[in-house]
Amino acid sequence: MNESAANGTPSDAPMSAAKKPHPELLEGEMLDARKGDVLVGRSVTINRPRRELYEFWRNFANLPRFMHNIRRVVVEDDTRSHWTVAAPAGKTVEWDSRLTMDEPGHLIAWSSEEGASLRNSGRVEFRDSPEGRGTVVTVTLVYDAPGGALGQAIAKLFHREPKIQARQDLRRFKQLMETGEVSTAAPPDAAPRA
């Protein structure tokens, strides 16, 4: 939908699948996206009703159940929450986040508050699967490439494989919503390790 604007070639693919993404073109889509930001997008079909998925996600305190780098989210009021996120070397980093868009059953968007050590924003959209297979959940995340030592370390953590983190988190969300469990082979996997 956006690639055409970037290079003049017709394409219906999302910006997150572009070989050279232009996150700043997502400006109007409830994201604090600027040129040079890291852009991650991923869709997954979940065999559950749209409303149920929306409600689980809308309570940000649930996010650590499937987003494994998020240690804790404390919901402060209708729009503000405080996030504690794992950082390298066993450290954590914290920031405040605010809800920027809420369309019940359809869309949630959030953005870090001014002064966050890692400027970031995200959006999750819930659409009925046109094939009747449940709900198509599309997550779009944008990260700043921040300054400062800690910021750079965090950035490294996120930037190294931000796509991997996002797709693993979404897989866990799907597992939890469809099966009631997060699949795991451990612990214990009943084996002494060499």
């Binding site: 065999n47 897989r171 469809e178 082979a185 214990p188 084996a191 002494p192």
Partner: protein
């Protein structure tokens, strides 16, 4: 508990390891009464499947008694005898609802699913005791095993039926059955089967049950060819015979209507180090050896069907794409949707229409498992199937 663990190429040991525990609500713990060594376990033994770790418990063909059931499973009861499918499936995703259980989207943990997504474009399903590509789940060549989604996979065995009659519902019987089903056999048709190992032999049996007029089996081990003949197949020894010419002559110049590749990749070709590298970087695979599959495609009649239950993992070269296209062949393949086929096959066993016990050549204790692997690897002619009995007293 005692368990057969993998430590490297041709190095498997029986170790004392921690007992499995209920981790998720839908888990169950099974006390193993019978567990088999699969031909595909030899790929692990030869270390041709990547992502193995020292200490991994092997085994994906097993059955036993339910010892403990998690709070999220209201179907299984303690004390029931069950056979467990090698494929772990949630029963609730899009794929499971289509009965494509071997494509379950949820059973491979999120962390291990990445590797197969990079390799194949989409993440593969979880399975027992078969490397970390399929989740790294501890297998069933052990005294006990943890079974996830135990309300979906395990099938309860009726009273009075021996383990040996139903054990192979876990993998190789449904795999042979699905291979034959994928041939879409019409009355009076001729099916050719490459490979007379357990899956090939069960595919022969299944093809007859599903209405094939003739089955022609291809192998080179004399004992295995005799077993194929005892099931009603005509046989070809490929060491002494030009297989394509023989099939042309034996079918009056038309060729077999459907062909089953029950061989799969031969031992080298999917080496561990190269795959780990490629998973990390990008897909650049060493070629699988596919001599048998090339012959299958060239020997099949025009407009015929190819069924591939044999296991492949990577890419291949010199693939006869021209023969495939010009002859208008169709191909079906895949890991087995075990959960889909178990009930009908259990029924056929109960009715006496399918017998699987003829296959078992050796019954050993769990402690003897390493010898079982060695003899299965080195003496393929007479060692057709090794079944381990963890409750069997150890012989000294």
């Amino acid at each position: 508990m005692r368990a057969l663990t993998w430590h490297g190429k041709h190095d498997v040991r029986v170790d004392t390891v921690p007992d499995p525990k209920i981790v998720n609500p839908r888990d169950a713990i099974i006390k193993i009464t019978s567990t088999a060594i699969c031909g595909s376990d030899l790929h692990l033994y030869d270390h041709t499947i990547p992502t193995m770790k020292a200490g991994d418990v092997l085994g994906h063909e097993f059955m036993g008694e339910v010892m403990e059931v998690g709070p999220g499973n209201s179907k299984l009861k303690v004390g029931q005898r069950v056979v467990v499918p090698f494929v772990i499936a949630c029963g609730q995703c899009f794929f499971c609802e289509q009965q494509q259980f071997a494509a379950c989207d949820n059973s491979n943990p999120a962390e291990t699913a990445d590797m197969s997504e990079l390799l194949y474009g989409y993440p593969m399903t979880g399975a027992f005791g078969y490397s970390h590509l399929t989740g790294g789940y501890a297998g069933g060549q052990a005294e006990y095993v943890r079974v996830p989604f135990s309300d979906v996979g395990p099938i309860v065995v009726p009273e009075g039926i021996d383990d040996d009659k139903v054990l192979f519902l876990s993998d190789i019987l449904p795999t042979g059955w699905m291979a034959a089903k994928n041939c879409e056999i019409q009355p009076h048709e001729v099916v050719a089967v490459w490979g007379c190992g357990p899956v090939g032999l069960f595919a022969i049996q299944s093809a007859f049950v599903l209405g094939a007029e003739r089955v022609i089996a291809v192998d080179h081990h004399s004992h295995r060819l005799e077993l194929a003949r005892s099931l009603g197949a005509e046989v070809i020894n490929f060491e002494a015979t030009n297989v394509r010419e023989a099939l042309v002559e034996m079918t009056g110049g038309i060729g077999p209507d459907a062909c089953i590749d029950a061989v799969g990749m031969e031992s080298h070709g999917f080496t561990a180090d190269s795959v780990m590298d490629k998973v990390k970087a990008a897909v650049k695979l060493v070629t699988d050896q596919t001599h048998g599959l090339r012959q299958v495609i060239v020997a099949c009649r025009k407009g015929g069907r190819i069924s591939i239950p044999g296991v492949y993992g990577g890419v291949t070269d010199k693939f006869p794409i021209g023969a495939l296209m010009e002859k208008g062949l169709s191909v079906k393949s895949g890991q087995t949707h075990v959960q889909k086929y178990m009930p009908e096959l259990l029924q056929l066993i109960v009715e006496g229409k399918l017998d699987t016990t003829f296959l078992i050549s050796h019954r050993l204790s769990l402690e003897e498992a390493p010898q079982g692997y060695k003899m299965f690897k080195e003496r393929q002619n007479e060692v057709t199937k090794v079944v381990l009995k963890p409750q069997m007293p150890v012989r000294h």
